[in-house]
């Protein structure tokens, strides 16, 4: 007798998955590609080689990488504290982590700008020591860090909860220092989840528009993100030009995600082998 499956038939489920993914992801994305093809290679290249477009792509990807890296570090810390320690208000802090998910991004942008502008609490103090956050690329990193935090924390938390403490205790009895235990026992087990969280936060940051637009200042060549240039093109009814930038962002993101996934597969394999 064939083993009973919970979900009927491979054919049926795969079919549904394909239809679902096609309707939601593949068809809209291929429409973007098709639209950008209407430009022709020469015009396509002219759009992308414009210094302003290049500056914005560098800024979008650079700021997203920086923010995701910050989140990888501090998100790990947050997830660690929330899973390993009991303290009053832990549940509230746990819930607060999700807020950037739930908040409309424009609200986040307005709140952060009010805080970090020269007239805001934090911005005023920082300005007195010569650091400008709002209306500079630094402000963009702040907004993207805010947006990306829950991705890292929420992917790490279940893994941390499942982590076998016996291994840590065994390492301790074998004379490993705390640093050694973290580096050789805990981190390898966390690394795949950390990379997933990192890439989710990064992907979110690359595409983020609503919150950044308020805090960025949007100065051409300096603090103008690529999604804003897409909107700018649309504002001129240049649909093809807008999709050209969108397609490049898609391809760059996809390549980076593939690379991160490869890295993740590698670390997972090494961890399993060890």
């Amino acid at each position: 007798m064939r083993p009973r499956r919970v979900i009927p038939g491979f054919g049926l489920t795969l079919g549904s998955v394909m239809v679902y993914l096609s309707l939601l992801v593949l068809i809209p994305l291929s429409a973007t590609f098709v639209r950008s093809f209407s430009l022709g290679p020469q015009h396509f290249w002219a759009v992308l080689s414009a210094p302003r477009v290049q500056a914005s792509l560098r800024l979008s990807f650079g700021a997203a990488l920086l923010a995701a890296s910050l989140n990888a570090g501090f998100g790990l810390l947050v997830a660690w504290v929330l899973t390993r320690y009991e303290f009053p208000g832990r549940r509230i802090f746990d819930a607060i982590v999700d807020l950037p998910f739930a908040l409309p991004t424009a609200v986040a942008g307005i709140a952060l700008t009010a805080l970090y502008a020269d007239t805001g609490w934090l911005g005023g103090a920082l300005a007195s020591v010569g650091v400008k956050v709002a209306y500079t690329p630094l402000g963009i990193v702040v907004a993207l860090t805010f947006i990306g935090l829950p991705f890292v924390v929420r992917t790490l938390q279940p893994v941390l909860e499942e982590l076998d403490r016996d291994a840590e205790q065994a390492a301790a009895t074998l004379g490993a220092s705390a640093a050694q235990i973290f580096r050789r026992v805990i981190l390898p087990a966390l690394l795949p989840a950390l990379l997933t969280g990192f890439s989710l936060a990064f992907a979110r940051g690359v595409g983020e528009y609503g919150s950044v637009i308020f805090i960025a200042g949007n100065m051409p060549m300096r603090s103008e993100i690529a999604p804003l240039l897409i909107v700018t093109k649309l504002e001129q009814y240049d649909y093809a030009g807008a999709t050209a930038i969108a397609v490049v962002m898609l391809l760059l993101s996809f390549a980076l995600m593939l690379a991160i996934n490869g890295l993740q597969a590698m670390t997972a394999a090494r961890h399993a082998a060890a």
Partner: protein, 378 residues
């Protein structure tokens, strides 16, 4: 109780004669409404009653103008929210008196360019009332929803009310900003939005350009130099006019906000004259937010007549008065005279005279590699 028969707007002509067919429909309505008290066996009886009632209604309504409810969608830009809330009420009363029909006007507000794209992409706007002709032009050039000569169909460039670009400064005008030339003095921070993404900011840009051009020895080169210097005093480029207003008013950034006169008045009115004041420059531009019906939509929905009247009535003294109350400059000379004290007298140029119309202005200044791109070193 009148003989009002509610019906969907698209079907006005067909339903007139279809008394019996409509009877069963209306019978259902009455059934639910009040005749259901007759118990189980009353079903057939109440149906007959309904038919009789309908015949009476039909007989009654042949004697009077048949009334219907029509709906219109007016797709507009951000700062007209309050204006059209008032005008829609006035127009509904006017149309009721004129035709007997009830008109319900739905409003949609947003950034002018965003709203235009929504209409191009299929939002069923009967009329559009946007911030600049360039956006309405796109309905003709991009989607062929309206004829290319749309702006000649109504008086005054199809613009029933106008505004202009003024300066909003902090109370007491501490930086002594009187005119365009003062904006490029050292230490002055100017707030305006990005003209590539904001229709309102395009009027600001053109007003600054026009002033520089009219100075002694002014030329396109000197105008570009002035506008470039001006944008070096802009610390934040918001993507829309509302964003720029928030930056200036709420964030407290900048010494002067370049704003549409109606928005500046609104800011002073809402936030208090103890915080801000309006400065009228020596020269500005007539900002024309034009209106048009969307032919493809009104013909499909059968709303052309009421949509045309909706826009034509904007030129009536009643509507002109509403516009003036919302700080738009009226076209009607008698209404304008009544509100003369409200608006500072500013010499103004028009976009047609100085820039040769919107299509030219767009190509020269705001398209890729236009004068605005050159300002930022491209």
């Amino acid at each position: 109780m009148g003989g009002a028969v509610e019906e969907p707007s698209g079907h006005e002509p067909q339903l007139q004669g279809g008394g019996l067919h409509g009877g069963s429909l209306l019978g259902g309505g009455l059934h639910r409404g009040g005749l259901h008290g007759g118990g189980r066996r009353g079903g057939r009886e109440s149906l007959w009653l309904a038919v009789v009632a309908l015949l009476i209604l039909a007989a009654a309504s042949t004697g009077m103008a048949r009334a219907a409810t029509v709906s219109l969608l007016n797709v507009s830009y951000d700062p007209t929210r309050e204006l059209y809330a008032d005008y829609d009420k006035a127009f509904a009363a006017y149309w009721k008196a004129k035709s007997g029909d009830t008109v319900v006007v739905n409003q949609s507000h947003g950034g002018s360019g965003t709203q235009t794209r929504a209409v191009i992409d299929g939002l069923e706007a009967d009329v559009v009332t946007l911030a600049l002709a360039y956006d309405i032009d796109a309905l003709a050039t991009q989607a062929h929803l309206i004829p290319a000569n749309w702006q000649t169909r109504l008086p005054d460039n199809s613009t029933p009310y106008t505004s202009t670009v003024v300066f909003l400064v902090r109370k007491g005008n501490p930086k002594h900003i009187r005119d365009w030339g003062d904006l490029v003095h050292p230490g002055i921070a100017v707030i305006t939005a990005n003209p590539k993404t904001s229709g309102g900011a395009r009027w600001n840009y053109l007003a600054a350009w026009a002033w520089a051009l009219k100075q002694p020895g002014g030329s396109p080169g000197s105008a570009e130099a002035y506008v470039k210097a001006l944008y070096q005093h802009v610390p934040v480029l918001d993507s829309g006019s509302r964003g720029a207003t928030i930056t200036f008013v709420e964030r407290g950034i900048g010494d002067v906000l370049l704003a549409w006169e109606n928005e500046a008045f609104l800011a002073v009115k809402q936030l208090g004259p103890e915080q801000f004041e309006i400065v009228a420059p020596s020269l500005s531009i007539v900002a024309e937010p034009p209106v048009s019906i969307v032919d493809a939509v009104v013909d499909r929905r059968g709303t052309r007549k009421v949509a045309e009247e909706y826009l034509r009535h904007l030129y009536s003294p009643e509507a002109q008065d509403i516009a003036a109350r919302h700080f738009y400059r009226p076209r009607d000379p008698t209404v304008a005279a009544r509100y003369a004290a409200q608006f500072p007298a500013i010499p103004m140029v028009t976009i047609d005279a100085v820039f040769g119309g919107w299509a030219n202005a767009q190509a020269t200044h705001f398209a890729d590699h236009g004068s605005f791109d050159r300002i930022y070193g491209q």
